[in-house]
Symmetry: C2
Subunit: 477 residues, 2 copies
């Protein structure tokens, strides 16, 4: 007998072991109920009513703010009103950053105000503001390559233009300019940092905030984002070839420690209550908008999906756990605390993902599951296909922004990619308001979450969650 090549041999063994351990499958009755849930969700406005309630009754809810407390109270009350069996909170402690006021202006040669917003963890300027000459870079690489002597004592401005994309991949570099840029500029001795907003709204005079990569307050410098039209204006002023002086006047900074909470609601499993399908979103928002797309929509999608499952005549076999995470915006504080606390239970997490990319329709699903669960994934994909969701079996799943942390501990995870074509027009700005949520598109999301969550909860078998599983996956989130 010819020797089989090693990889083929390994595959044969895997296949054999797969058959031996019984592939995970979704029972036909569960598929049928999932189809009904899906179709019901498409004609149900629970999700929209939740995001309308959160944005109207609470509005902006920056982590650590007075509104953060009200948002938690809202979430507890909303879970209860939606009929969740168990509602509880888990404390999350983090440094509190506050924004009090922010102004900027070109002071020479063409005096005029500029629209800016301070970035998370930026220190304030000293009283009276910071005035310095601006030095411009077109990219993060150009800044990295800069001679510190050209930067020292100046306000660094990086004019990178973030590109629009359905899958939002332009945010990779856009967010790097915001997170890494200030740290690099500070290390080179810059006095302050400005960027062209990491946003795709080329014509809106609204700046995009977001967190920086500052970890050591002693090494941080005042950092802010210009609206795109203001970045254009600054670049036009610089193009005259004369020195341009900008004044930054930021009153913001760290203000001690704060203890908030993840808020959790459960539809308790009838057979295996200790096993959970985990879905969610983050409850905090930036302070500039009302947090409708980031991430009221995600919280609403998950809450509504769980509620629809809870409305079924029978409880699902496994628990549907909906987590409204604390302080995602300033560094995944809630989800990191959650993953640290629950890492030892990772094998009980059947499958999970959260929603944090607005309210556009889901168009792609991918998954990090064990090979034996691929057949079940195909069953899930078949139920989601009529919603316009394409299953990409070659891509890993990342678990979303917050549940990526449990995925990193070994939780089997999906990626449910939304259409983010317009997301970065509004992301982290005053324009993140309810009118950006299309009720029908939101309902499509709820349908996807309700159907997949229910099928995962009813599956015969698991999806491969185990400590350290999927460590080599190259998740796309």
């Amino acid at each position: 007998m010819r020797r089989l090549p090693f990889t083929l041999l390994a595959a044969s063994l895997l296949l054999a072991s797969g058959i031996a351990s019984a592939a995970t499958t979704i029972p036909a009755t569960a598929v049928k109920t999932a189809e009904q849930l899906r179709d019901r969700a498409l004609h149900d406005d629970t999700g929209y009513r939740i995001v309308a309630s959160l944005t109207t009754e609470v509005g902006a809810r920056m982590a650590g703010s007075e509104a953060d407390r009200r948002a938690r109270d809202w979430a507890v009350a909303k879970f209860r009103a939606l009929g969740y069996d168990k509602v509880y909170t888990e404390a999350v402690t983090y440094p509190k950053w506050v924004r009090r006021s922010e102004r900027a202006a070109i002071v020479a040669p063409f005096p005029q105000p500029l629209v800016v917003t301070a970035l998370g963890y930026s220190p304030g300027t000293s009283a009276g503001g910071l005035s310095a000459q601006v030095v411009k870079f077109d990219s993060l690489d150009a800044l990295k390559a800069a001679d510190p002597a050209s930067v020292k004592g100046r306000i660094v401005y990086v004019g990178y233009r973030m590109q629009r994309a359905k899958d939002g991949h332009g945010y990779g570099m856009g967010s790097a300019v915001r997170t890494a840029g200030p740290v690099i500029a500070a290390a080179k001795g810059a006095a302050g940092y400005l960027l062209r907003s990491a946003g795709t709204d080329a014509h809106q005079r609204i700046a995009h905030t977001g967190v920086t990569g500052f970890r050591d307050p002693a090494k941080a410098i005042p950092a802010a984002a210009l609206s795109n039209p203001d970045a254009d204006q600054l670049e036009r002023a610089l193009a005259y070839g004369k020195p341009v002086t900008v004044k930054l006047d930021l009153d913001c900074g760290l203000d001690g420690e704060y203890t908030g909470a993840n808020v959790i609601g459960e539809i308790t499993g009838g057979k295996h209550p200790e096993q959970v399908v985990a879905i969610g979103g983050h409850l905090d928002s930036w302070d500039l908008g009302t947090g409708a797309i980031d991430d009221g929509a995600g919280v609403a999608i998950a809450m509504a999906a769980g509620k629809l499952i809870g409305d079924l005549p029978q409880r699902p076999d496994r628990t549907i756990r909906v987590i409204a995470f604390a302080n995602e915006e300033m560094g995944l504080w809630g989800s990191r605390a959650y993953a640290d606390k629950h890492a030892a239970e990772v094998s009980q997490f059947q499958l999970g993902t959260d929603s944090d990319f607005g309210a556009g329709p889901i168009w792609r699903m991918s998954a990090s599951v064990k090979p034996d669960a691929r057949a079940a994934m195909a069953q899930i994909a078949k139920v989601l296909a009529p919603l316009g969701v394409a299953y990409d079996a070659k891509r890993p799943g990342g678990g979303g922004s917050d549940l990526s942390q449990m995925h990193a501990k070994g939780m089997a995870a999906l990626s449910l990619t939304q259409d983010g074509t317009k997301y970065f027009d509004w992301h982290h700005t005053a324009n993140d308001t309810l009118d950006k949520v299309d009720p029908q598109e939101l309902a499509q999301n709820v349908a996807v979450y309700a159907a997949f969550s229910y099928m995962a909860a009813q599956a015969d078998g698991d999806f491969g969650s185990a400590p350290g599983a999927f460590a080599k996956d190259d998740a796309d989130e």
Copy 2:
């Protein structure tokens, strides 16, 4: 002989007298030069460079502000740099209104900030702000009909939604809600006034300022505009059926008297220097944007048109007078002063109109001219037709927003209607910035102004300007 009906007889007499006094015509050589000017203007970026210069080097220039002074210096220098023969200013005195800060919030039942902007001539609130219950009206008529008892001591909110239209006619009611609304609310005893911004940008969290109808400061109340998404938010809060309290905190108001100036540049006529074709725009802008479309574009169109005529080998027969008017925004102060000062010379104004509706292409021309000049108008229309300008011989001409004042004194006037479909997305907001100006559309405007101004300047005969002429025209501006 049968008696002719009176109207037919009158028409015959008019026709006869028209022939007798010689119809105004444009010489063929002037038509040819106008066609060359038109085609040259389409490939010339002078207009765009002017509006870029004004918005970059000066930016916002609210009447009476420090930037108002810089804008006048800019205009004088720009006229000179463009080769105008004569550059001068004429003083204009008006009450100065200042905006220092503006904030608003829902304080109960759902505390959260609202994006507002104070309206021109609004007084400030007393220190600590004005908190009052909101009473909502859907229209100006509903407010007019309201029992004063329902309004007294409250903040009136009018939620009228301005409609988008190519000719901008939605602004008729939109601006009435802003100008008349506060006066009516004040007369009924309201404590404050809010409106849904008179703008067509339903999804931008940017408020539209503009002047109120307050004339007597003793009868004025704090008045401000909410952005459209904030108006949505307020209406959602009101829909809960509980009393909604809003706090307005406006630091703004009248601050004495100020003397600014109309800035005028002339290409002096070679044959009849005392006879003028008057074109222009207004130099002031609101303070929130950089005044690109309102009205940097108008100033640029007129300045560039005059410059192109000035570049011809020979001076035109009559003078091209370009007027950059002072303080249009708070009540046509510059143009009213101009018309008062020059009313006695109205017969020397050959023809005029100004540009104050953004930078969209001109699609329609109409005119208020004497019947004997209709043939000349048809000649002008023929030259403009390739630019996409339709001549509506049945409509009167209004002279634009500022030169309407000279038209009211008897100046023959055109209306050159631009496509304003998007104009009210940006009008009177922070979003009035250079990126909203399309260079090619601006060049089309310059082509229209250069061609018509030149033909009017070279005409054999006049267009009927005389004291009190056109008093019965129903101008559309």
